[in-house]
Symmetry: D2
Subunit: 436 residues, 4 copies
């Protein structure tokens, strides 16, 4: 195994959020400030709360991840971003209705101070949204250059050492990978020609990578994983990660499905209903954006269950995902899963899961973790797709010759063993000691 | 790592089941015969259906476990056992009302042929049961000797190479480990004195181990894991395993709880309701047997969640398990779990799981796997507690200086890596390839 | 109150079912034969099992409905019908997979003997179905005449006194009431011109009413309630009833919603998910048929909750109904309702109802009751829409100047008080005795 | 029908609450003040929000109940009461954690002003509670006299025309009706002798009735319905009502069970789980108080389903109620009902209801309604048990020769028809108009 060297996290870390005023973004930002002031705790965040076992179980050595690897500190984070309406973060957070007044009132000043830069936005890609705080440009290349300037100025102005860009904006329409995405040359030509298959999220990724800045995609739309942008990431030695934050129903799915497979219980059908009443619900009520999301959600089961290996168990199960805009729920997403399984001799059983969750509350700590881990990856000299961060995504980006890993527990082991390897430690195998 | 040698599984494998006429036993036996005739499939069984990955993911090498390690074949199994009522297995299966007529009618002869030997039974240990097909003896030692004779005769009569004994009988009352359990000498003295803390299940274990036969405990009562019997297992070089088959609600628990911990989501309370209408329900309606079961079910969460490492997340959660005898359910056990969790800044969420399962359908394949893996272990020269089989148990037996592993996915990795090690292969770490 | 005279139910009662081979029809027919042979009981049927209180509560006088009013007897029923495929009822029942083998094997002969007449069918009205056992005719008038002939012959052949026709076939596409439906003259002209808005169900109704035979519509499509056919019913003095059998989720809705209103609890949203895997599911997966069903299902809440009277409580609730074709469920329909309510000062609460029901099992007894009550109505000289049978329907037919009654309990009281009135008895008011 | 005359509600109406500082009481009081100030609405209250139909449906005449009958106005209510700890209502409401800060902060003064009188309390009757603000007396008669004095003083001090007393305190232990309860003479002798079977709630009732003040019992313990106190109520011409506010799970039960019966669907089992984390939960965790509550909850189904009339459907169903103290839930009571039913030919189906409710939010409007209706009853010259208020109770008090009515919808009709009768109007029968 090669020896890894990690640079120290000196100075400030800039975070630029696309969709700065959204529910996830403002919940993350408000949470960060509450945490820094000691008013709340970063539950849900591995970088802040989790431990990692080092050595044998009997050695009883469980340092916190944040003490084990050299992560940037939350207090060194400086936040900025883009949004299609010119509201400061306090106004936006109020509107998002995720956090209670008490959790916003204590940090009004910090939140008001964070104001968006105007966004690259085109209603064609997110049909249910409107915004007036939008950049103009002759072509997509010019828009990308404006984003590069934004990044540069943000860095200078705030005297930052490093920056990470993260997409927390809405789901764009479904786009299939095609010629314009195949190489950096095609892509740059496409931008000049305003090619329809180059979406705003790709322009943000292009701008970030061009500036040597890691890019994370929290939504399911096609973006940084296209060959053109991976080529750019390779060229500029930048790590990228995506896509679609794994929260709510899919999180549950990637836990229940491995259980079924672990126990060789067959699957006859899986019906997933989602109720959500926030802006996400509005956007996903539109068929184009829904298709993008649906693809992301459907892919999960097949990869985990491996019907090609287990045709008797998993070849013909019926899988249906419904996302319903249901205003009474607000940001409190609700999932109802009905799972029809079978065991010994084919006898049927049912499992029903009702998850009354809060979308942004589940996503906010992922934002924090991804920022800090991507910054770590960059300092450790890692570039391109970071598969070890699959843990955080519904549709993990992956190299073309490999199947993505969806099983939450294998993802977790991958993540932790990667951290151990970064620290030049032996990975853990959970093998029985008397056989070792 | 030391080199392991496994003897070939020549000849017939005898299986002696304590509680031969119970729902789990008859479902296992009827299933086995259906499977041998090609009328049904052994869903739920790893030994029969699961594959194991060998080498790198990219090598795409996934043999079936049964082709990879040298397991006994289902057709080489010969079944016998003990029961407190003298019914043949067909009658018993009919009464258990688990399988549909069609699945019993096709194997009437095979089932009728299997008749129990009289059992060692004492109502003191299972207050809600009655039986008249019961052995008599001056003291417990004498009863144990009668069981040894039964094993010997069964082996001779059926011309068997090897035998495994498995406890599928009802849950005995709660007994705390004490002096009589501390050493083999104390235990043997205790048998002569009819010590109250020596239960029938211990006598069966004693008889099996004395005969060099592996013993598996599928119920939660204190049994083969006492020091006295481990001493005996060491002496006779026999593997043992237990306890309490992991099915239904606890199976779900050992999957959801690791998910919470993986994601650092806090737990405020977990309320588990069980409805079951079979004989198990009758037995567990009695406080003594319930206490035994409750201990087994409650221990799970603390070990997985590690409150000592994560006091902010898991120190004070409220955990309650209710088991309700509810006749309309029959063997169709139903679990309803209400799980109160919290995330980012402490915001609360709820997860509710309703599992409409079939107890014996879930347990039957575990019986098959455990028999075959225990036989493998013995042929591989492994003895004492088989921790790598924790995967199958609610309260895995473990060595005194180690905490039991409850997380289903770590248990699964342990099991598979142990199989790899038995085959002198490298264990798998799921580490990212570009770091290797 | 006028005095009612009821003719005695002499002789045989013919029942002609449209959709003779469907799940509901065959479950009804097989059930009827099992019941006549004493193999099963008519659970779910008021005519066979319910009592009716006569006089004061203290009089303790509760005769069975069937002993109180003069109903036809089940043994006097002779069954026939139409179907688009030429299978006998035994074959059809096997295919429907509702009843277990044991419940069909005992009545094979009776079921085989019942064979369909060829149907009036047009794929335009039920896009997902195909059939080859279909009548031909120059125009719709001619097809209706063929149906009249069928009825006449069935009556003669079986020596019947009276006949009832009931639509148990699939849901037709959505049709709005328009000119052709406005008068009998328009309608008869329309049949000659093959007007597109005259559906097969209307032709069956036309044929029945022309023959003086009551017509019942068990599906939600526009049919006998159009003015043209009501004019005909008036002319021929025939009672009619419909529409859409009230089973499953809507049954629950018409019970929960009255409870909310009774207690003045507000409603913020009601989300209804349906899973069904039978032919109904296939048909309703098609937008045209779904629209018909959706209208039927959506109308319920507004009428019960009276938002015009209670704007603060019920003006703006969000109501969504989803019907999902989910093959693993088969005929076992499943409903999941999520109901968001609010109480004192507007505090929110949630009610979730999961109904694992069997569609045809719930519908079959309604078929029996409706047949017998419609026959009673005709013998009592009642004609036109029978509002007192609203109890059985999702979208009760009603006179144009009145709002339909959806509350199950008011419907029940209406039904029972109507029976009392038919028997020239005082209706019951449940008033406190000390005030009377 | 006799003509009813109702006195006008002149002047102020005093309300004395036993358990003034409890969750239900403070939620009621705080709500009342919010409503009077226009900050909130009295959702859940029939007296404030419901309409009543007068005349035929076609007349479209639906006045509000409060405009139809002469009720006291909320603004004329003056509140006082007794409590075992000397906290004012603001402190108590804060502690109860039912209402959000915003709903208490606006009425701090009004709430602080309401302070309790010391209570008659004995830990023997509610074993899990402790209090130090407790009256002393030689015997129970003397304690009752102190309560009478309290009532008199409260009336004088506040210049009240009329007073109502309502028990909103905790559930007392189970007491069987016996000799001491049989006559007023026995009861008065028993008080002097400190008879153990005379509980505090009986002393409050005795005091109220002696003062000519109506008494309402919101808890399930034996109280005002004993013959001794009914004798007193008759003597002093005072109306009484009880017992056990119908909220949560039982409310649902009295709606689902009538539906089953209306449709002649059989019942095999009904399993009810309750989670509650407030003081009620603590009290009911004690076997004595639980027994009282359980009796109240269990009685419901038999009376509605009438197994004696319908043995095939309802004779042997299994009914189990579990109440679980579960602190994470707080005042947010949760019910999970599993209902096993059967239909046509005995085929089984399941209905599961999950009610995430708020106990005090559901109870508060009942307190308001009961106070106003009892005051109305007294002004209308009604005395003794008010069966028409059964609508509000889990175990409606009833005359000994009659079965209590549990069906919510019959209860509602009873209530409304009683109001109509009080106004000398015809009751409504829901009979079909063409038969009238």
């Amino acid at each position: 195994m090669k020896k890894v060297t990690v640079k120290n996290p000196e100075g400030k870390l800039g975070v630029l959020i696309v969709g700065l005023g959204g529910a996830v973004s403002t919940t993350f930002i408000a949470g960060l400030h509450n945490i820094l002031k000691g008013y709340g705790k970063p539950f849900g965040s591995l970088t802040q709360m989790a431990t990692i076992r080092i050595g044998e179980r009997t050695e009883n050595n469980f340092p916190f991840i944040k003490d084990y690897v050299s992560l940037s500190k939350p207090e060194d984070i400086v936040i900025g971003g883009w949004e299609i309406r010119n509201n400061n973060c306090y106004e936006a957070a109020k509107e998002a209705k995720v956090l209670e007044s008490i959790d916003l009132d204590s940090i009004v000043r910090e939140m008001e101070r964070i104001e968006p830069m105007s966004a690259v936005f085109d209603k064609y890609y997110v049909k249910r949204l409107d915004g007036d705080f939008v950049k103009r440009g002759k072509n997509k290349k010019e828009l990308a250059e404006q984003l590069r300037d934004d990044i540069k100025k943000f860095k200078e102005l705030n005297n930052l050492e490093r920056v990470v860009v993260i997409w927390c904006a809405s789901t764009e329409i479904f786009i299939s990978e095609n010629e314009v995405h195949k190489s950096l040359a095609n892509f740059e030509k496409g931008m000049l020609e305003n090619n329809e298959d180059i979406s705003p999220s790709m322009l943000y990724a292009y701008a970030a990578l061009s500036e040597g800045v890691p890019f994370i995609n929290g939504a399911p739309n096609l973006s940084v994983e296209i060959p053109a942008l991976l080529e750019l990431a390779e060229k500029t030695s930048v790590p990228v990660a995506g896509k679609d934050f794994k929260t709510g129903q899919t999180l549950i799915k990637t836990v229940i499905a491995p259980m079924l497979k672990a126990r060789m219980l067959g699957l006859e059908g899986w019906f997933s209903t989602n109720l959500l009443g926030n802006k996400d619900g509005v956007v996903l009520d539109e068929p184009g954006s829904f298709k993008t999301k649906e693809e992301s959600k459907l892919s999960v089961l097949n990869t985990i269950l491996q019907p090609e290996l287990y045709p008797d168990l998993y070849k013909d199960f019926y899988h249906k995902v419904r996302i319903n805009y249901y205003p009474p729920r607000g940001d409190n997403k609700e999932g109802w899963d009905n799972i029809d399984i079978f065991g010994w001799l084919g006898y049927p059983m049912q499992l029903k899961v009702n998850f009354l969750c809060k979308d942004s509350i589940l996503a906010a700590p992922l934002v924090l973790d991804l920022i800090l881990f991507m910054d770590l990856a960059q300092r450790a000299g890692m570039k391109g797709i970071q598969e070890w961060l699959s843990f955080y995504f519904k549709s993990p980006n992956h190299s073309p010759n490999i199947i993505p890993e969806h099983d939450l527990f294998i993802q977790q082991m991958k993540l932790k063993n990667t951290l151990r390897t970064i620290m030049n430690e032996e990975p853990i195998t959970h093998i029985d000691t008397d056989l070792e």
